[in-house]
């Protein structure tokens, strides 16, 4: 295997020329995309350079507390993202808490188990392993949970009459909400199921490609990718289940009533 080829900043400048061409085309064709393209590209450059510096210092300091701090803020940011992506949210702290809690439980929990047993880095919280794995797991769990909660809350508000009809016929809250819950779980699971089915044929995952580019044997890179996909699949599934069950529990009460007043109303499209 050939080794790792380091890139120079000139290489990057050269690569960015293609994006600049796109910007010029947009100007010439009056597409009005050039501003958005430029801002997005600039954000990407700044964010990635900063994260590179941050990771570099984290890796050299090797402090468990700093690693924990970064991991916690990753979970909180992902939680905020889940909250923001729902059309109708649970009122109060519950809105942020259920998504974030589910991610902390499933995403962080599974990452810790993987680090301590399968990856076996020493010490297990070594940021070079912990943070990238947590990032990949959280990114996907976040997607699944936000899709599932959005589908659940929309479905419950839209089908209030049919849910209450079932409650009135003497069904329990779990049984009356089962059709909506099942649909919400399906939307939450769909991205990861699709990703697992398409991987290797339609898409070559970024992590595996990166490892191959840096000189790792493809069969070894595949093993890492499989590990990560299993972790992502497991964490997404558990996170989606925890978040939707928590939300159903909050939107009903012990007398088997539907408590829609605990849900915010969506903003009307302007």
């Amino acid at each position: 295997m050939s080794g790792y080829i380091a890139l120079t900043y000139t290489d990057l400048l050269l690569a960015s020329v293609f994006l600049v061409i796109n910007g010029l085309l947009s100007l010439w064709l009056h597409l009005g995309l050039e501003r958005k393209l430029a801002i997005a590209a600039l954000r990407m450059v700044v964010q990635l350079i900063l994260v590179g510096l941050l990771l570099k210092s984290l890796f050299s300091i090797l402090s468990p507390w700093l690693t924990l701090l970064v991991a916690t803020s990753m979970v909180l940011f992902a939680g905020r993202e889940v909250w923001a992506r729902q059309d109708r949210k649970l009122r109060g702290l519950w809105g942020f808490g259920i998504g974030t809690g589910a991610m902390a439980f499933a995403g962080a929990g599974i990452t810790v188990i993987a680090l301590t047993t399968m990856i076996g880095s020493d010490p297990w919280w070594t940021p070079r392993f912990a943070l990238p794995v947590l990032g990949m797991v959280l990114g996907n769990t976040m997607n699944g949970i936000s899709l599932a909660l959005d589908a659940l809350h929309t479905g419950i508000s839209r089908e209030r009459v049919s849910i209450e009809a079932q409650l009135l016929l003497g069904q329990t809250r779990w049984s009356a909400l089962r059709p909506v819950l099942r649909r919400a779980l399906r939307s939450g699971f769909m991205p990861i199921i699709n990703a697992m089915g398409a991987v290797g044929i339609v898409s070559l995952p970024g992590m595996m490609t990166g490892q191959i580019l840096s000189g790792v044997d493809p069969t070894e890179a595949v093993k890492y990718q499989l590990l990560v996909m299993f972790l992502i699949g497991g964490a997404t599934g558990l996170g989606v289940l925890a978040a939707t069950f928590g939300s159903v529990w909050r939107l009903t009460d012990e007398r088997d009533r539907l408590r829609l007043e605990r849900l915010t109303k969506p903003k009307d499209p302007t």
Binding site: V161, I163, E164, A165, L168, L169, G170, R255, D256
Partner: protein, 204 residues
């Protein structure tokens, strides 16, 4: 009918702008509730079946609401809401035993084949009549009906009323919300008026 010991006993029921109200409905008795729109007649029915948070003591025979799980309570005291709800594509699976109910469809002016219909193609009135049969299937002791004939023509309305009288003969207690004064007079033994959150007897 024994007014001293009613089948449905409501004591100091309070919910939002309603109450506290207390009243009873005897076995085989029909009580109608009338009143201007927006006074909370539906809210009152929902509170009795415990579909919304509320305060008060409610009892059906020797079943005390606070002592039983809410699903059991709603099987004893059943409510037919003004808008019927459906959660599957076809009519039949909404019933516990569709084959037994099929024969009763003519009682509400529908053909027996209605059991195989698609919910999406039902009219409001058809849905409502099917929902009434579905509600009766659990053999509740007390029936709370919210405008049960609002979407129906006169002949079908009379047919539904005949079915309800049959239920009264079986000893069911019925509390019916209606805008139709003629219907209240035809069916009800007593008429209560809900206004300003309080119930008042209109006629005996």
């Amino acid at each position: 009918m024994n007014p001293e010991n009613p089948l449905l006993k409501v004591g100091n029921l309070t919910r939002l702008m309603i109450g506290p109200v207390s009243f009873g409905v005897g076995a085989g008795e029909c009580v109608a509730i009338t009143g201007p729109s927006g006074t909370g007649k539906s809210v009152l029915l929902r509170a009795i079946v415990d579909l919304d948070p509320n305060d008060g003591q409610v009892q059906a025979g020797d079943v005390i609401r606070a002592d039983v799980p809410a699903p059991d309570w709603r099987k004893t005291v059943a409510m037919l809401p003004a808008e019927s709800g459906w959660w599957l594509d076809h009519v039949a699976p909404h019933f516990q035993a569709p084959d037994k109910i099929r024969g009763q469809l003519p009682l509400v002016g529908l053909p027996e084949s209605a059991m195989g219909w698609e919910v999406a193609r039902l009219s409001t009135g058809e849905k409502h009549r099917l929902a009434l049969l579905r509600c009766l299937e659990g053999k509740p002791k007390v029936l709370l009906l919210d405008e049960p004939t609002a979407a129906l023509d006169h002949d079908t309305t009379l047919q539904i009323e005949a079915l309800l009288k049959q239920q009264l003969d079986l000893g069911t207690a019925i509390l019916i919300v209606t805008h139709d004064e003629a219907q209240a007079k035809r069916l009800a033994h007593r008429i209560l008026r809900l206004d300003g959150g309080q119930l008042q007897q209109v006629a005996a």
